[in-house]
C-alpha cells in the first residue's frame, strides 16, 4: 500500500487546508480532473490472488479461496469483471467494454451456478439467475472474496460453482476525498467519498459517476468470412453508458465486541444495447435502477470467547427497463419494465465447544417477487415469486495430534415457486402449478497443517441449483416454460496445498466435479426452452503464487487448467469441451508498490500479462474462438503529504482484437487516467511508515 504523510506541523497542515479548497473546486468540476488518496478510489485498484501474507478468506478456512482487498496496486479504469478475470479458476465472458453484460464461470461451472453477494445480499435473481457482473460497481467493494467450488455456511444459499462476495468495510478514520478520471472511448469518471469516525459510530459515504461512449473500434467481416473485400473498420454504436452509484456504510458500536452495521448502495444506469457487430443496433436500450441494503448485528461476546453471531436483515429492489421498440435485439418490438424485490434475513452463529470443537449454524429465509410488465402486450404479464428458506449446521473438529480440522456441514434449502404461465405471444394460459423444491446440500472439508507455513486442504461436496423462474416458466417471449424442470445437482471435490509465508506464498489445487440434470437452453424454430438434458464433468488444477521482494517489489501470478467436458450422451456435444470454458488461463503481474523517492513523492509501476486459451463458441466444438494474450501496464505517482495520487493504466496494449462471444467484439487498446485526492486529519499527525 502506498503511504503517507510526513511529520508535518502547522505549516503542513496549513498547506493542506489551502489545497483542500483547490481539491474541493476540482471535485465539483470547476478546475477539471484531480483527486486521490486515503481510502481507495473505487474505479481504481487491482486484483490479487492472496498476496504474500494477505488477508485470508473470512468465512471458510478449508475452501479454495482468493481475496482482493484495497491493499493492491492502484489502477485506473478497473471493473469487477476485470478483477475477477485475474483470479484463478475464473473464466469471465463479456459482450463488450465497460458495463457490458458479463458473467463468470468458476472451475468450469455455468454462470448460473455462481452466486454473488453484496454485503450479504444475494444479487442472483430467482427470476433470471446469473448475475450480470457488468452491473456490479466496485464503489462499495472494500473486499472481494472468491470461494471456488465451495459455499461457506454463512451464505444463505449455496452455489455449485462458487461464491463471489463483495463487502464494504466501516471507515477506520475520518476522511474525505474525490477522484476524477478520463479514459478511452469517451470515458469519464468522477467521484467523492467522505467518512466520519466517532467514539461509538462510523459513517462512510461514497458517490461515483461514470459515463462512456463505448465507441471502440473493431473490424467487421460483414458476415462474409470468406470475402475480405467487404471487410471494414467500424466503431461500436449504441454502446454509451451513463451510471451513477452511491454507497453508505455505518457502524454503531455496542457494549463489548458488538456492533450494528448498516449498508446501503444504489445504482442508476442507462445504457445502449449494441447488437452483433455486423448489424449494429441504433436504439435498443436498458435502464437499471437498483437499491440494496442490509442491517446486521454482529456480536463476538454472545456465545463465548470464540463465539460469533451475525444476524442480517436485507432487501433488494430493482427495476430494469428494456426498450427495443424497433426489434433490433429482441424477437419483435419490445418494451418491458421488470421490477423485482427481495427481502430476507440470515442468522449465522458459531461457538466453541470445548478446546477442539466449533459448532456453527445458519438459517436464512427470503421472499423474492418478480413483477414483469410488457408495455406493448395485450395483457399484463403475470407475477412470479419464490419463497426460499435454508438451514445448515457445521462442525469443526480439531484433531490436535495431527493438527487436523475436520469440517462436515449439512444444509437444506427449500423453495416454493409460483407464477402464472405466459405463452410465447404474451397470452395468458392456465396458471402453472406451483413448484416445491427441497435440496439437501452436504460438504466435508479437511484442513491439516503438516509443517509450519504449510496447509493442506480437501473438500468434497454435493450441491444443487434451483431452476430460475424464467427457466421454469418461460419469459413470456421466445422462451417457453418447462414446469417439469428439476434442480441441477452435482458433486465437487478438491485437494489443495498452500505453503509459504510473508515473502513467498504458493497455493496449488486440483479439483473435479460431476454435474447432472444440467439445465440447457434448447432452441426450436420459433421457440426456445430449458431442459434437464445436460451432464458435465470437470477436471482441473490451479496454481497461484505471490511473492514480495525487497520490500517494494511484488509478483502475483496464477495459472488455471480446466478440462470441462459434456457427458450428456448427446450426439453433437458428448465428450466435447463446454463452450466458453478456456482450458488454460494464466495471469501474472510484477509490480513495484509505493516506492518512496522522497518524503513527498512515491511511485508505483506494474505490468501484467493475461493469457487465455481459445474457447469453443458452441457445444459441438466447431467454432473455436482464438486465444488471447493481453498485456497491460501502468504507473502511479503519489504525493503523500498532499493526499494526491495520479494513476495511469493501459489495458490490452498490444491492441489484440477478439471476442468472448461470437459477433460481439471486445475493445482493443485502452488507456485510463485517474487523479485521486483524499484528506484525513490523521494524515498530518501520523509519522511516515
Amino acid at each position: 500500500m502506498w503511504s503517507t504523510q510526513g511529520a508535518g506541523g502547522a505549516e503542513d497542515a496549513g498547506r493542506g487546508r489551502s489545497k483542500i479548497i483547490l481539491y474541493a473546486l476540482t471535485a465539483v468540476g470547476l478546475l477539471g480532473p484531480l483527486p486521490v488518496r486515503a481510502e481507495e478510489p473505487r474505479y481504481e485498484t487491482v486484483v490479487t490472488a492472496p498476496p504474500a501474507g494477505a488477508s485470508p478468506a473470512r468465512e471458510d478456512m478449508t475452501a479454495s479461496a482468493s481475496v482482493i482487498t484495497t491493499e493492491r496496486t492502484p489502477r485506473s479504469g478497473e471493473s469487477l469483471t476485470q478483477l475477477l478475470s485475474e483470479l484463478p479458476g475464473v473464466a469471465v465472458t463479456r459482450l463488450g467494454a465497460h458495463g457490458a453484460f458479463a458473467t463468470a464461470s468458476i472451475r468450469g461451472s455455468s454462470p448460473n451456478q455462481v452466486q454473488l453477494y453484496v454485503d450479504g445480499v444475494p444479487l442472483g435473481s430467482a427470476a433470471t439467475g446469473a448475475v450480470d457482473l457488468g452491473l456490479v460497481p466496485l464503489l462499495a467493494a472494500d473486499r472481494i472474496e472468491l470461494y471456488r467450488g465451495s459455499t461457506p455456511l454463512a451464505f444463505g444459499s449455496s452455489a455449485m460453482g462458487g461464491i463471489i462476495a463483495l463487502t464494504s468495510e466501516p471507515p477506520q478514520a475520518s476522511a474525505f476525498g474525490a477522484h476524477s478520471g478520463v479514459g478511452s472511448f469517451g470515458t469519464r469518471m468522477l467521484g467523492a467519498h467522505g467518512a466520519w469516525v466517532g467514539a461509538r459510530a462510523q459513517v462512510g459515504a461514497r458517490l461515483a459517476l461514470f459515463d462512456s461512449r463505448g465507441d471502440f473500434p473493431y473490424r467487421s467481416d460483414n458476415g462474409t468470412l470468406f470475402d475480405r473485400t467487404d471487410d471494414e473498420n467500424r466503431r461500436r454504436e449504441n454502446n454509451a453508458l451513463a451510471q451513477r452509484d452511491a454507497a453508505l456504510r455505518a457502524a454503531i458500536a455496542l457494549e463489548g465486541r458488538r456492533q450494528i452495521v448498516l449498508a446501503l448502495s444504489a445504482l442508476d444506469r442507462e445504457q445502449g444495447l449494441p447488437s452483433a457487430g455486423t448489424v449494429q443496433s441504433v436504439a435498443a436500450s436498458l435502464e437499471t435502477r437498483r437499491i440494496l441494503g442490509s442491517a446486521s448485528y454482529e456480536g463476538r461476546d454472545d456465545l463465548g470467547q470464540a463465539g460469533r453471531v451475525k444476524a442480517t436483515l436485507y432487501g433488494l429492489a430493482a427495476e430494469q427497463r428494456f426498450r427495443d421498440t424497433l426489434g433490433e435485439i429482441a424477437f419483435g418490438p419490445t418494451d418491458t419494465r421488470d421490477r423485482s424485490g427481495t427481502f430476507g434475513a440470515t442468522l449465522a452463529a458459531q461457538r466453541a465447544v470445548g478446546a477442539a470443537w466449533r459448532l456453527a449454524g445458519m438459517v436464512d429465509a427470503r421472499r423474492e417477487e418478480f413483477h414483469p410488465r410488457d408495455r406493448l402486450a395485450r395483457e399484463a404479464r403475470p407475477r412470479g415469486s419464490r419463497s426460499f428458506a435454508a438451514a445448515g449446521v457445521e462442525l469443526d473438529a480439531w484433531w490436535a495430534r495431527l493438527d487436523l480440522d475436520v469440517v462436515p456441514s449439512l444444509r437444506v434449502e427449500a423453495a416454493h415457486d409460483e407464477i402464472s404461465h405466459v405463452d410465447l405471444y404474451g397470452g395468458r394460459t392456465p396458471t402453472a402449478e406451483p413448484a416445491n423444491h427441497l435440496l439437501p446440500i452436504a460438504r466435508l472439508g479437511l484442513l491439516q497443517r503438516p509443517a509450519p507455513g504449510v496447509r493442506v486442504r480437501a473438500n468434497v461436496a454435493r450441491y444443487a441449483r434451483l431452476p430460475t423462474l424464467a427457466e421454469r416458466y418461460g419469459n413470456g417471449g421466445v422462451i417457453v416454460g418447462n414446469p417439469a424442470l428439476a434442480p441441477e445437482a452435482g458433486f465437487n471435490a478438491d485437494l489443495g496445498v498452500a505453503a509459504g509465508g510473508a515473502t513467498v506464498l504458493i497455493d496449488a489445487a486440483v479439483f473435479a466435479s460431476d454435474a447432472r440434470d444440467l439445465i440447457h437452453f434448447q432452441k426450436g424454430s420459433y421457440h426456445a426452452r430449458y431442459r434437464n438434458i445436460g451432464r458435465a464433468r470437470v477436471l482441473g488444477g490451479e496454481l497461484t503464487g505471490t511473492a514480495r521482494l525487497l520490500r517494494f517489489a511484488h509478483l502475483v501470478g496464477q495459472t488455471t487448467f480446466v478440462d470441462a467436458r459434456d457427458t450428456s450422451g448427446h450426439s453433437a456435444s458428448d465428450g466435447k469441451q463446454l463452450p466458453h470454458r478456456p482450458r488454460f488461463r494464466a495471469y501474472a503481474r510484477p509490480e513495484l508498490r509505493d516506492v518512496p523517492v522522497s518524503d513527498w513523492l512515491a511511485f508505483g509501476l506494474y505490468g501484467d500479462v493475461d493469457i487465455t486459451d481459445g474457447t469453443y463458441a458452441d457445444v459441438a466444438n466447431l467454432v473455436r474462438l482464438p486465444g488471447r494474450l493481453l498485456v497491460g501496464a501502468g504507473a502511479s505517482l503519489v504525493l503523500p503529504r498532499s493526499g494526491l495520487r495520479l494513476s495511469a493504466s493501459g489495458y490490452n496494449l498490444g491492441d489484440t482484437r477478439g471476442s468472448d462471444v461470437l459477433g460481439f467484439p471486445l475493445p482493443g487498446r485502452s488507456l485510463f487516467l485517474t487523479l485521486h485526492f483524499a484528506y484525513s486529519p490523521r494524515q498530518f499527525k501520523e509519522p511516515t511508515r
Binding site: G223, T224, G427, T429, A572, L622, R624, L662
Partner: protein, 437 residues
C-alpha cells in the same frame, strides 16, 4: 507445410471424385428440375458461357432454376453452428460430410455459418450450391464438387434482413426473399434483385402494396419461400405483424421476372401464416402449406391447412384442405406434393409437451390423411421428397440419435424404409433442412 486442413481438403477431393462420378447422367430431380427442364434433359440453360470463376453466366430471358445434381442437408444446433453435408441423388449414404461448416475457417467477427441457415427451395442455375445464412444475412455460393466457397454476398445491407429463400432466374439474376424489414423504414420484407455472379444488388421489389391487411395491426409481407413455375415466381407471404402477434389472410404474390414486378396475387381464404410452397409442373399447380399463426394458440388449427392452386385456370383456382383432417396444425414451413391425391405434410408436435412431429400423406381431393412416420419429439422433423426417384428423406433431430430415414416407393400407402444415415458424423449435429442443388 501440410496441415490437417490440407489433408481434409485432399480427402474431400477424393471423396468428391467418386461422388461426382455417381452423379453423371442422373436425371433432374423433383418438381424443381422438372420445372426448369421439362424435357428431363437436365439442361435448363438457354445458352451462355462460363466466367473465370466457373460460374455459368447466362443471358437473355429468365429461364428459371437449373437441374438438380445432388441433395444437400443442413445439420445444426439452431443456435450457434451449422454443418452442410451432401447426399448423391437417390443415395442413402453421404457423399460428403461437413462440406462446409461453421468452423471451416477460423472465425473473425462471424463464423463461416451461423446457427440459422437454410437452403433455397430450388437448385441454382449454375450447378452451384447456395446456402442462405439467415442469421448472418449472407448468401454463400459453394462449388459442391470440391466444397469450396466461390463467393459471398451480404444481402442485409445494414440490417437484419433474415433472407429466407433465393430463386435463381438464370440470365444473371436472382430474387432474394428478405423476410424482415429495416426498423423504421420501408426497406426490407421485400424481394432483393441481385446478380448472383457479380454479388451485387440490382434493385428490389416492394411487396408491401401487395400485402393483405388485418384489423388493428400493421402487417408486413414477410416473404417466406418462393418457387419458379411456368415463367413466373410465386412467393408465399407469412403476412404477420412485426411482433408476430397478428396475422393476415394467406396470400401468394405472383412476380413477373421479365418485368421484375408483381403481376398479381392469389389469396388463400381461411388460411394464415403460409410459408411452404411447391410447384407441381405436371399438374400446372402449386401447393401451399399454412401453419396458422402461433399467436392463436389452440385456435391455430382453424387457419392451418393446405391450398391447391390450379394455375391452368384464369384466374388461378384455389382449393383448401383444412388441417382438421390431421388433428393438429400443419407445419407452415414445408410441403411435398407428389400429385393432387398425395402430398406429404408435417404436423408439429409440442415444443414442450408430449405430442410428437408426425409426417402424413394427404389426399387433397378426398380430404383424407395417412400417418407415415412419427418423430422422436416436437419440432425435430424435416423432410424432402425426391419425386423422380420416389424417395422421401425424413430428418429427425433427436438429441441422442439424430438421423435421416430414407423411405422408398413413396406412392405406396405406407412407404417402406429404404435406409438410414447420419447427416453429420463429424460433429454429430442433427439434421434440420434439405434442399436440392
Amino acid at each position: 507445410m501440410i496441415t490437417s486442413r490440407h489433408v481434409l481438403f485432399l480427402s474431400l477431393l477424393v471423396l468428391c471424385a467418386g461422388a461426382c462420378a455417381d452423379d453423371e447422367g442422373e436425371p433432374p430431380v423433383g418438381n424443381d428440375a422438372s420445372a426448369a427442364a421439362p424435357d428431363g434433359s437436365g439442361t435448363a440453360s438457354d445458352g451462355g458461357s462460363s466466367d473465370d470463376a466457373g460460374v455459368e453466366v447466362r443471358t437473355g430471358a429468365p429461364a428459371g432454376p437449373g437441374p438438380a445434381t445432388g441433395l444437400a442437408v443442413l445439420s445444426s444446433d439452431l443456435t450457434m453452428v451449422t454443418s452442410l453435408s451432401l447426399i448423391p441423388l437417390g443415395g442413402t449414404t453421404l457423399a460428403r460430410d461437413a462440406c462446409l461448416h461453421s468452423g471451416t475457417q477460423s472465425p473473425a467477427l462471424s463464423a463461416a455459418l451461423s446457427g440459422d441457415v437454410t437452403l433455397p427451395s430450388q437448385p441454382q442455375s449454375a450447378g452451384e450450391l447456395l446456402v442462405i445464412d439467415r442469421g448472418a444475412n449472407v448468401l454463400t455460393w459453394i462449388d459442391p464438387a470440391v466444397c469450396t466457397v466461390r463467393r459471398q454476398m451480404n444481402v442485409g445491407m445494414g440490417f437484419a434482413a433474415n433472407p429466407s429463400d433465393v430463386v435463381d432466374l438464370g440470365a444473371g439474376k436472382a430474387y432474394v426473399l428478405r423476410y424482415l424489414a429495416r426498423p423504421s423504414s420501408d426497406e426490407g420484407s421485400d424481394i432483393l434483385i441481385i446478380d448472383p455472379a457479380g454479388t451485387r444488388a440490382l434493385g428490389r421489389i416492394d411487396l408491401r402494396p401487395h400485402t393483405p391487411t388485418a384489423t388493428g395491426a400493421t402487417i408486413l409481407p414477410m416473404p417466406a419461400r418462393a418457387v419458379w413455375a411456368g415463367g413466373k415466381v410465386y412467393v408465399a407471404l407469412n403476412a404477420l405483424s412485426a411482433d408476430y402477434k397478428a396475422a393476415a389472410q394467406g396470400r401468394v404474390v405472383v412476380v413477373d421476372p421479365a418485368a421484375d414486378s408483381v403481376a398479381g396475387t392469389i389469396d388463400l381464404p381461411g388460411l394464415k401464416n403460409c410459408g411452404g410452397i411447391e410447384s407441381l409442373p405436371e399438374a400446372n399447380a402449386l401447393v401451399v402449406s399454412c401453419g396458422g399463426p402461433f399467436s392463436d394458440g389452440d385456435k391455430r388449427i382453424d387457419s392451418s391447412g393446405l391450398a391447391w392452386i390450379d394455375l391452368a385456370a384464369t384466374p388461378p383456382q384455389v382449393s383448401v384442405v383444412r388441417a382438421a383432417m390431421v388433428g393438429r396444425p400443419i407445419s407452415g414451413f414445408s410441403v411435398a406434393p407428389l400429385s393432387e391425391t398425395r402430398a406429404f405434410v408435417l404436423t408439429e408436435g409440442d415444443f414442450a409437451g408430449p405430442a410428437k412431429d408426425t409426417l402424413w400423406a394427404v389426399d387433397m381431393k378426398a380430404g383424407a390423411a395417412t400417418k407415415i412416420h412419427e418423430g422422436s419429439g416436437g419440432f425435430v422433423m424435416s423432410y424432402q421428397l425426391d419425386r423422380v426417384r420416389k424417395l422421401l428423406y425424413v430428418g429427425d433431430a433427436s438429441d441422442k440419435d439424430p438421423k435421416i430415414i430414407v423411405f422408398g416407393d413413396v406412392e405406396a400407402a405406407v412407404p417402406a424404409k429404404r435406409g438410414e444415415l447420419k447427416s453429420n458424423p463429424m460433429a454429430g449435429l442433427p439434421p434440420r433442412a434439405f434442399g436440392f442443388y
